[in-house]
Symmetry: C2
């Protein structure tokens, strides 16, 4: 694994995909706004070279999945929360909108099953094909 090298004094913040979401949700309009609003389970297919990083994760664990929301817009700074015209405009940092300068998704899920370097987790509103960039234990 390479540590990215940039010009001295300049940080290159490049994410490496560690895996991908495999979900029945294919289009943004099919996805609920949050995992707990009727989202399905999905498989996280982690690349085998990151397998050692999964050691210790077992069925029943509550974890946070961090994704790169590759279908989001990065040039949006204000939204109406939940796209409801009744809501006043709000800064995206005060909301969970996928549209934001760095479209990171944060998904609290339960691990249902571990099969090699594949994890079945849910409920999760991420779309099929969404890159996974990190997994962390749930916040306590």
């Amino acid at each position: 694994m390479r540590i990215p090298k940039g010009p001295p004094g300049k940080i290159r913040m490049i994410l490496h995909p560690v895996g991908v979401v495999r979900s029945p949700l294919r289009r943004r309009r099919d996805a609920p706004r949050q995992g707990r609003e009727g989202a399905p389970d999905a498989w996280l297919e982690i690349a085998p070279r990151y397998g050692r990083a999964l050691e210790g994760i077992v069925a029943g664990d509550e974890i946070l999945v961090i994704t790169w929301l590759d279908r989001a817009r990065r040039d949006v700074l204000s939204v109406r929360p939940r796209s409801d015209p009744v809501n006043p405009m709000s800064g995206v940092f005060a909301t969970r909108s996928p549209d934001r300068p760095n479209p990171l998704g944060l998904h609290p899920v339960v691990v249902r099953e571990v099969e090699g370097t594949r994890l079945r987790v849910g409920p999760i509103e991420a779309l099929d094909g969404t890159p996974v960039v990190d997994l962390k234990p749930a916040l306590r």
Copy 2:
């Protein structure tokens, strides 16, 4: 704001810093392992061009700060949790180690004060100079 363009079919997952942490913590060995273990408050200096994205965040809010842990190692897949030799080796995805393939820091904090595009938040264990990449409402 530019939407990064890459070769067709290839996603470039490049984070843009939206701000920086200003903290009395200067070195990794000075930082507690988690914010709730005696960490200080810090200022988040958000770049003025992202000011609109902060609208709606007020003192007292519980938020999540996502940082890029620029002093972490990306080539570490297993660690002893809390560097305690009593603990067995564990995959980094099962831990909060800053050393991980994509060194994203996730910091639950309380907003103490908002001053233009600067937010005083805490407690937070991030080091001075750490790039901020996203802010989100706390998970419920």
